[in-house]
């Protein structure tokens, strides 16, 4: 069984919501659409206070090269464009819409019929994807249309689809593969046409045998698409790890995957691409896993962007009494929320409620130089060294120790026997070193 070669860990899977049918979450009474939802520049609003919007109306335009469009997830009236706290507690601009009914834009095809034939040309596909505001739905929220246009001089050979879902607890991609397999595969053919490759590989970890079997059956009708089962190992969903696992090529430090001829897209993104190109549907809703050991009914929800998390939690049986921490995303890479009132964004893949007993960090002890973090690191860097340099503000040393290669997967902190806050300091170091590198240009 294939997997990546360096490092990796195997945290308890806890896929509590596996095989739970995707339910449609109720519409919020008020949707709060954050303007900065993708990696890069926040979008510029094109609506103003009092504008009437339908579901799918353009709310904000992409404001730079790395930026994406934003569409209304609900129909109703824009009540204000104001600052609102995001998941990290900082105030960011947001468009607030009071919901009235559920009127969709006429251009959106709401039927469930599968459209296999791709009419759009390569350029049209990329334009449609950019217009629909599609971003990487694995969590990094990098605008998809940029990924589909490789920098000049580089050519892609293979499209890799990430169906790994290596984060514990999360099941949204798994469930999407089971329910929307056909659409995903059509989405993959669209992506293949857009990039100009004739080979695509779907990587799925073998803890999801049903998804592997299901997609294998579907891809048999298509040429050039194959399913590659992978050994369960975290962080296999990392772009560079997945490329290593599937096609056995190593992306050099500081370069993009296209350097080795690969483009990686997430399962959720492939589905969103299908909907955008074949059904004219912009990205305004996504699948999110609501889970946690004390949650009454862990489930996979199809929810609109901008829905406050509190409403999604209520739908799944309310906030458990013993909750001490609520994490947006999975337990390994997710970030704790400062409030349940913050809204869902394009990058919200899950919502995890952690009970009191598991939420507290253990006492920090001294580093004993055991090297477990180095063995666990999937990027082959030395987390203990990066933490030490960051703690002492030795940014040059941190840079030469390849701090920017860190994918923030958290494996080092997971294995550290001294409970050292390795990733906390590495994140700080990455922010500082990143700023230094940008200032040189």
């Amino acid at each position: 069984m294939k997997t990546f070669k360096i490092g990796g860990i195997h945290p308890p899977e806890n896929k509590l919501s596996a095989n739970k049918t995707i339910q449609v979450a109720p519409l919020p009474t008020q949707a709060i659409v954050m303007l900065g939802q993708c990696l890069g520049a926040p979008s510029t609003p094109v609506v103003e206070k009092g504008s009437e919007v339908k579901v799918g109306t353009l709310l904000a335009k992409s404001s730079g090269f790395v930026s994406a469009n934003l569409h209304a997830p609900v129909s109703g009236k824009v009540v204000k464009i104001d600052e609102f706290i995001d998941a990290s507690g900082y105030k960011k601009s947001a468009v607030v819409i009071d919901v009235e009914g559920d009127v969709w834009e006429d251009a959106i095809d709401r039927s469930t019929t599968l459209i296999k034939e791709i009419k759009a040309s390569k350029e049209e596909i990329i334009k449609k994807i950019a217009d629909a505001g599609i971003v990487g739905l694995g969590g990094a929220t990098f605008p998809t249309h940029i990924k589909l246009t490789p920098p000049p001089g580089k050519t892609a050979e293979v499209l890799i689809i990430n169906g790994v879902e290596c984060e514990p607890y999360l099941t949204s991609d798994h469930q999407l593969m089971m329910e929307k397999g056909e659409e995903i595969v059509v989405g993959i053919t669209i992506l293949m046409k857009a990039i100009g490759v004739n080979r695509a590989i779907i990587g799925i970890e073998n803890n999801k045998p049903d998804a592997i079997a299901h997609l294998r059956k579907i891809v048999a009708q298509y040429s050039g698409i194959e399913v590659c089962p992978l050994k369960v190992q975290y962080p296999q969903g990392g772009e560079k790890q997945l490329i290593d696992a599937i096609i056995n090529r190593q992306v050099p430090s500081g370069t993009l995957p296209v350097e080795v001829g690969a483009v990686v897209q997430n399962i959720g993104t492939a589905f969103a691409v299908y909907e955008a190109v074949q059904k004219n549907k912009p990205l305004f809703e996504r699948i999110i896993t609501i889970t946690g050991k004390s949650v009454k009914t862990p489930c996979n929800l199809l929810a609109r962007i901008g829905t406050p998390f509190s409403q999604l939690i209520d739908f799944c049986g309310g906030l458990p009494n013993d909750t001490a921490k609520i994490v947006g995303g999975g337990p390994m890479m997710g970030k704790a929320l400062v409030s349940v009132d913050v809204p869902m964004t394009k990058g919200s893949s899950g919502l995890l409620m952690i009970p009191e007993a598991e939420a507290q960090r253990q006492t920090i002890r001294n580093c004993i130089r055991c090297g477990k973090c180095v063995s666990a690191c999937a990027m082959g860097i030395e987390p203990f060294l990066l933490m030490a340099t960051s703690e002492r503000a030795m940014w040059e040393e941190a840079e030469s120790a390849h701090i920017m290669d860190c994918i923030e997967c958290g494996s080092c902190m997971f294995v550290c026997p001294s409970n050292r806050p390795l990733l906390d300091y590495i994140r700080l170091g990455k922010a500082k070193v990143g700023a230094i590198i940008r200032s040189r240009k």
């Binding site: 706290i85 990290s88 507690g89 105030k91 704790a336 409030s339 906390d424 300091y425 994140r427 700080l428």
Partner: protein
């Protein structure tokens, strides 16, 4: 006898040749160092704190000697006294600067600023600030994890465990600015020490709108503008819902302190107010 003579002669000759070579090499590679650098270094406090902007006291001494004027060169730790000595040592005129002191512009103690969440990560303000807005609804205020206390080389800054805020020891603070650089929220400011150490400043950096700021913290500046109106010297400006008192223009009249509805403006080291003195005896009389 002959052997001894030859040995002495040979060694003597060798020594003489080596001495000649060494003399010329020393002349060729001579490094001239201004003796005044040592003199200047002698009078500097030798704290090597970097408050002057140079790597250490030696680097500062070199810069002083090389510079044409002492403009812009100032040792905050030594102050005017040391700078006068430095000027004397290099034969230039001393630039007199107002002594400064660090002030903490946040009064969001646990009482004034209720917690809305709990931080459980690495105990460092820099790390916490990179992650999120903080444990309270005010994302501008003090995180209380003590990066400034660690940065202070003069034992002049300590976290008060009750309020969770840093407190500055006026006797020890040298205004080196290490805490200012360490604070990721830019709360600490170096301000003019003022006559008799008296100073007035806005103890808040919250730029939210008034209602939001007030909800997050009882003693936040709400940007109402009352202080700006009452100030006769145009010392107060309001930008982004936050008042700032210019220490140069401020004449320490304390009118702004009186009108501030939230008590965000602080006065330090002033004698008790006169009104209070007059009111107090009246009350006493009544009581009697």
């Amino acid at each position: 006898m002959n052997v001894i003579l030859i040995t002495v002669l040979m060694l003597g000759l060798l020594g003489a040749v080596a001495a000649v070579i060494l003399y010329f090499v020393a002349q060729k590679f001579k490094v001239f160092e201004d003796p005044r650098i040592d003199e200047v270094q002698e009078v500097l406090p030798a704290a090597n704190c970097g408050g002057c902007g140079f790597a250490g006291c030696r680097a500062f001494a070199e810069a002083c000697v090389k510079a044409d004027t002492l403009d812009g060169l100032f040792c905050p730790v030594g102050g005017n006294e040391v700078m006068a000595q430095v000027a004397a040592a290099i034969g230039q005129e001393a630039v007199v600067a107002d002594p400064k002191i660090a002030v903490v512009r946040c009064n969001g103690s646990c009482e004034n600023r209720p917690h809305t969440n709990m931080y459980n990560g690495a105990s460092s303000c820099a790390v916490a600030a990179a992650l999120y807005g903080g444990e309270t609804a005010c994302s501008y205020g003090c995180l209380g994890l003590g990066d400034c206390e660690v940065a202070c080389e003069f034992d002049a800054l300590h976290m008060n465990p009750i309020t969770g805020l840093p407190e500055i020891d006026e006797e020890k603070c040298t205004s080196c600015g290490a805490c200012v650089k360490a604070c990721p929220k830019l709360i600490i400011e170096l301000r003019k020490k003022g006559p008799k150490s008296r100073r007035i400043f806005v103890s808040c950096v919250n730029k939210d709108k008034g209602a939001v700021a007030k909800k997050a913290c009882d003693v936040a500046c709400i940007g109402c503008g009352k202080c700006e109106k009452v100030c006769e010297f145009n010392a107060i400006t309001i930008e982004n819902n936050l008042a700032y008192i210019d220490p140069v223009k401020c004449r320490l009249c304390r009118k702004c302190v009186e009108v501030c509805p939230t008590g965000a403006i602080h006065e330090l080291n002033f004698p008790p107010r006169k009104e209070k003195e007059t009111i107090a005896p009246v009350n006493q009389e009544k009581a009697e």
